[in-house]
């Protein structure tokens, strides 16, 4: 296993992000949380239809990871991707409008919550079939290497996708062809209502990297600084050496699998959820910044209020936006 760089425990931050980044990351985590809370409310009101998978609890994963990327790097996700879309710079208005199915949405109302896209920003979607987008990530990295543009691709997927064939086929080829891709597995412990250990023979997902002679790291996904640091190392490996990395990120979702699913009950206890909330990623970073004297409670409250207003405005924008024109039904099936 010459190329593996596994560590048994979450790595301690060895390269802390600069202080100005701390505040930015706090703001980003708060933005995602408040956005998702508004989405939940709009879903309950029937403004958002279909499936809607929220990111609450997992914010540090995307925020830390994307802070380590270049703006033109590719990000591709499963259907739990509102947070990554926000971080890639798609406006809350365009994302909320997409959730509402409106013409002003980032996919013109044709994608919905699971299919957010902004190709101009390297946000290559929201994909709805578990594990189906993992090969696409390697393909994007293949294109980067082919074109020599040094773009890295980060692929977010849940732990349940590790049991899918596409995961294994792709890791193998990414390693054989040395593709600049980071497989970022968000292990939130449950595929819908099924605990990972009930359906996986190997529960330490980093171990899978051994089969593909790939560098891997186990990361504490509730700590945004750790997340940033591990991703930075993987990005460097991808950009400088064109080597893939598997990151197993331990995280937790507070909400049900989607808005139609219960928060807890048959598959996990309320106590477990509360226990995990004690490690809340936003509270952790806010606490540290207060301790360091970077921010006080008043400033934090002001920041939160500002973000609140921003996402409320996004809901208003989405609500007031028009539906797609009827003719849109038949456009974008093929290009001329």
């Amino acid at each position: 296993m010459t190329a593996t760089a596994r560590s048994a425990k979450p790595a301690a931050p060895s390269s802390a992000p600069p202080p100005e980044l701390h505040l930015k990351m706090l703001r980003q985590m708060l933005l995602i949380r408040r956005f998702e809370e508004q989405a939940a409310e709009a879903y309950a009101l029937g403004k958002i239809g279909g499936f809607c998978h929220l990111y609450i609890g997992q914010e540090a994963v995307a925020v830390g990871a994307l802070a380590a990327l270049r703006d033109d790097d590719y990000v591709i996700c499963s259907y739990r991707e509102h947070g990554q879309a926000l971080l890639k710079g798609i406006s809350p208005n365009a994302i909320m409008a997409e959730l509402f199915g409106k013409a002003t949405g980032c996919s013109k109302g044709k994608g919905g919550s699971m299919h957010l896209f902004d190709a101009s920003r390297g946000f290559m979607g929201g994909h709805g079939i578990v594990g189906g987008h993992i090969p696409l990530a390697a393909g994007l990295a293949f294109a980067s290497k082919y074109q020599g543009n040094e773009k890295v691709c980060v692929c977010f997927f849940g732990e349940a996708a590790v049991n899918i064939g596409a995961f294994h086929e792709t890791l193998n080829m990414a390693s054989v062809w040395k593709l600049p891709v980071i497989f970022l597995c968000e292990n939130n412990r449950y595929g819908m209502g099924t605990a990972f250990e009930r359906v996986a023979a190997v529960t330490d997902i980093v171990e899978h990297a051994c089969s593909y002679d790939m560098a891997a790291e186990l990361v504490d996904g509730m700590n945004v600084l750790t997340m940033y640091d591990a991703t930075r190392r993987a990005v460097e490996r991808a950009r400088k050496q064109s080597h893939p990395t598997l990151l197993e990120v331990r995280t937790y979702r507070y909400m049900g699998h989607s808005m139609s699913d219960p928060l807890h009950g048959v598959y996990r206890t309320k106590d477990e959820v509360e226990e995990q909330k004690a490690r809340d990623p936003i509270a952790q970073l806010a606490g540290k910044l207060k301790e360091d004297g970077v921010i006080d409670q008043a400033a934090l409250d002001a920041l939160d209020a500002e973000i609140h207003a921003e996402v409320e405005a996004a809901v208003k924008f989405a609500d007031e936006s028009p539906d797609p024109e009827p003719g849109e039904l038949f456009t974008d099936v093929l290009v001329d």
């Binding site: 994608g111 189906g132 696409l136 980067s144």
Partner: protein
């Protein structure tokens, strides 16, 4: 005009398009060092190098998806399946990723990708290696599907497919690769979506594509001996379908037989019959007949296999039925 095999015509198309556009690359099992399982990619590794002629592991789902991702990243992949029988493993990527990407991204992400390889039965390969894919893929909006029957059409349609900014399925045929035919020199493009009358006639239209062109032409010969003038219409493209050409021919002959390699239930012929009954009802002098593979998995035994496949004799019998000669 040069005489080429279908195989070499495809090889020429690949070579010319790879010379023309550095973003075109070929990926699949055995395409490089081995020179192609059916030698369609012969010489390409030597000319273009391993960067553009990429040998894969046996992992159809994975490399089909990597092709889709590469297309999202601005390349123009040509993904070869050793046969379409194995592409069933890649169906998620063809249907859920390639075909839907443009639509679900609100028109942002183009998908200039070609999936190609031999389709349908060869000889005595048994159930799992002998199925025709037309109706599986033609069902999906967002895909184009072509099925060339001659060397000239193979070259011209593959070139069109590679230049198309949409995902195109190219259905070839193991039994066609050795077929020889004249191929126009130089730039030869066959637009996707145009059928061609391969033999004009007046009494009955035989609608066919791919390997069933040869079946229909033989049937037309036999019918001519019985003083029946059959028109043979080669669809060439399954999606989009050249509906105008089908209707025009049926309006002339007033009778039609649809011949295909695939199974009858929800087959391509069913789609064509639907078109004819809807838009040429008043021109019909008889119900349209279909000739398909028997509605069974393909048997191994030579006699049973022959009985399962569409044949000139079955087409002649169907034509005689629509002509009320039986």
């Amino acid at each position: 005009m040069a005489t080429l095999t279908y195989r070499d015509a495809l090889n020429q198309a690949l070579r010319e398009e790879m010379q023309r556009d550095p973003n075109v690359f070929l990926m699949g099992e055995e395409v490089g060092v081995y020179q192609g399982a059916y030698k369609v990619s012969r010489g390409l590794l030597e000319e273009f190098g391993a960067k553009r002629v990429v040998d894969t592991p046996i992992a159809e789902l994975g490399f089909a998806g990597i092709g889709v991702g590469a297309a999202m990243g601005g390349l123009r992949p040509v993904i070869e399946f050793m046969t379409w029988n194995f592409a069933v493993l890649a169906l998620d990527q063809i249907v859920n990723s390639a075909a839907k990407m443009l639509y679900m991204s609100g028109g942002q992400i183009r998908m200039p990708i070609v999936f190609r390889g031999p389709n349908g039965a060869a000889l005595q390969l048994g159930s799992q290696h002998s199925q025709a894919w037309e109706s599986w893929v033609a069902h999906i909006p967002g895909l184009k599907v072509v099925a060339p029957a001659t060397p000239a059409d193979a070259k011209g349609l593959l070139k069109s497919a590679i230049r198309d900014n949409n995902p195109v399925i190219v259905l070839e045929g193991e039994m066609l690769y050795n077929m020889k035919g004249e191929v126009p020199d130089g730039e030869h493009i066959v637009p996707i979506g145009l059928a061609e009358i391969k033999r004009p006639g007046t009494d009955v239209t035989l609608v066919c594509h791919s390997k069933t062109l040869a079946v229909a032409l033989k049937a037309a010969d036999q019918l001519a001996e019985q003083n029946v003038s059959a028109e043979v219409l080669d669809l060439r493209s399954i999606r989009p379908l050249d509906e105008a050409a089908i209707l025009e021919s049926v309006k002339k002959t007033n009778r039609a037989v649809v011949v295909e390699e695939g199974w009858p239930h929800a087959g391509i012929g069913a789609q064509i019959v639907d078109l004819i009954q809807r838009d040429a009802f008043d021109d019909l002098d008889a119900p349209v007949q279909r000739v398909t593979q028997a509605d069974v998995p393909m048997p191994y035994n030579k006699v049973l296999e022959r009985a399962a496949k569409a044949s000139p004799e079955k087409v002649v019998a169907a034509a005689r039925r629509v002509l009320y000669l039986e």
